[in-house]
Amino acid sequence: MSDAALRPEVYRDTKASQDFGVVEKELTLFEKLFNQAWLRKCVLLVLIAVVWEVYGRHLDNPLLVPTFSDTVTALVAAIKSGVLIDRAWTSVKVLMIGFSVGVFLAAVLTILAITTQLGTDFLETVTAMFSPLPAIALLPLALIWFGLGIGSLIFVMVHSVLWPLALNTHAGFRAVSPTLRMVGRNYGLSGLGLVLKILIPAAFPSILAGLKIGWAFAWRTLIAAELVFGVASGKGGLGWYIFESKNQLDIPEVFAGLLTIIMIGLLVENVIFRTIENKTVRRWGMQT
């Protein structure tokens, strides 16, 4: 113990950084390229395509697995003839209607839930009841109620958007810090003003997460529902396109339809939602 106290004290003069320059070493070209996430993912995609192509040729049975090149050819042809775009647009249109109705209902439900105790109880009860119910399971009932048409599709999509979105939004509202609420009330806000000007922006990360989940659920549900009956006002969507192609044993077209579904999904996820995220919650530092 006394030895420790006997250690000499140390004083040094530190150099200014311009005396020795900043110490750094440039990365190699390979390291720089490897650091680009998109490049790594593109390489992976190419690899998957190659494996697919090789397997397809090896199997040599276009009825089971068409080659990648056949699928791309079918995709290009379907896009050129306008069929695929037309089908995709039909699906997206129905999706947007169903999604908006779901968002609107979720907004009404959550606003009721945060303004009244009974609203909270109602939201908690119905979400607990309905959210485990797969939307597709409601389709037979929807067909009886709304017939073969857009009505049934919208009904099942609203079901798949509403509950996850309402649940997330409500959780987001409840997580808003008491300080922020008090700040809002300090400005003289109350009721709907407080909800619109303080709670919604403050809970936006949760709301956005709910919208993403809701969108993914709705998209899957829509395709699945279209596969089951598909024809809405004389025109089918993407699900129907896949179903039809399968019936005619145009398997490359089936794969082209699946690819389109994947591409639309990636587009919405990585372009639309990513842009919203970057412009809002990331910019505000509410999400890293």
Partner: protein, 265 residues
């Protein structure tokens, strides 16, 4: 209690009479303060000082209009306080009191616009005027998450002052800052007061801070908070010896029940 308030003073800006406050925990009803009286004159730097559990923050919330007294009443300019409002701007201890989705300038201007005081260009100009006062002009277009704790508190103070409230309520605004920043913020607050002579009700548990910032100090005892004394503080720029003597006196009064044999000079 409160009998030392002279009758010749003008009508106080804020008058707290016999206020008892309760709050509920999961299974208890806790009395936070018991029959507290005090009154604040215009341009006072009034301090609520006491150990934790003396109900000083609860009292501030009641003045803010966030909770109603079960007994007694709080009047601002003769009007009973019933709800929160922009005539009593709060500055909280927490750093998350700024709206994260708005820049510094928008945060201040939003307060002015939402409360209906000013709109558009006028709100923006007033916001910038007060942001300048707290030396944040360069950070005016930054989002709060890029600011340090001290800067965030400055924005909150600028926001509170820009609203030009009847009284500024501050709930331990510097408690979460490091010691150096805290000292600088206290000095800046006093400088701002010299400029505009705003009225402030300031809650703290630090005797040194109370003596430094306040001109009048209300001492509260814990569990539940009751008024122990209401005293004048040392004037701004007082001799260190005078300040130290006052701090010791307050210290002795606050801890008289527990440590009477504690003899320090």
């Amino acid at each position: 209690m409160g009998k030392n308030v002279s009758q010749t003073l003008p009508q106080p800006l804020l008058d707290v009479r016999g206020v008892t406050l309760h709050y509920k925990t999961r299974d208890h009803l806790v009395t936070a303060t018991y029959r507290v009286d005090f009154s604040i004159q215009r341009s006072d730097r009034f301090i609520l000082l006491g150990p934790s559990g003396c109900g000083k923050s609860t009292l501030l919330k009641a003045v803010g209009g966030y909770m109603a007294p079960v007994e007694g009443e709080i009047r601002l300019k003769g009007e009973r306080i019933t709800r929160p409002g922009p005539d009593r701007m709060m500055v909280f201890q927490e750093f998350d009191q700024l709206l994260p989705w708005k820049t510094v300038r928008q945060n201040v201007a939003f307060a002015l616009e939402t409360s209906g005081k000013l709109r558009g260009k006028a709100a923006d100009e007033k916001a910038m005027h007060y942001i300048e006062k707290v030396h944040l002009t360069r950070a005016a277009d930054s989002f709060p998450h890029t600011l340090s704790g001290g800067m965030k508190q400055r924005v909150a103070i600028a926001r509170g002052m820009a609203m030009e409230p009847d009284i500024l309520l501050m709930d331990e605004p510097f408690a979460a800052l490091d010691a150096l920043t805290r000292q600088r913020m206290q000095d800046e607050l006093l400088m701002l007061w010299e400029e505009t002579k705003f009225t402030v009700l300031f809650v703290t548990h630090s005797i040194a801070e109370a003596v430094k910032i306040g001109n009048r100090i209300l001492l509260l005892s814990p569990h539940p908070g009751q008024v122990k004394a209401e005293m004048n503080s040392a004037p701004i720029g007082a001799e260190p010896a005078e300040v130290a003597a006052l701090e010791t006196r307050i210290h002795d009064m606050l801890f008289s029940d527990k440590v009477e044999e504690d003899d320090h000079v």
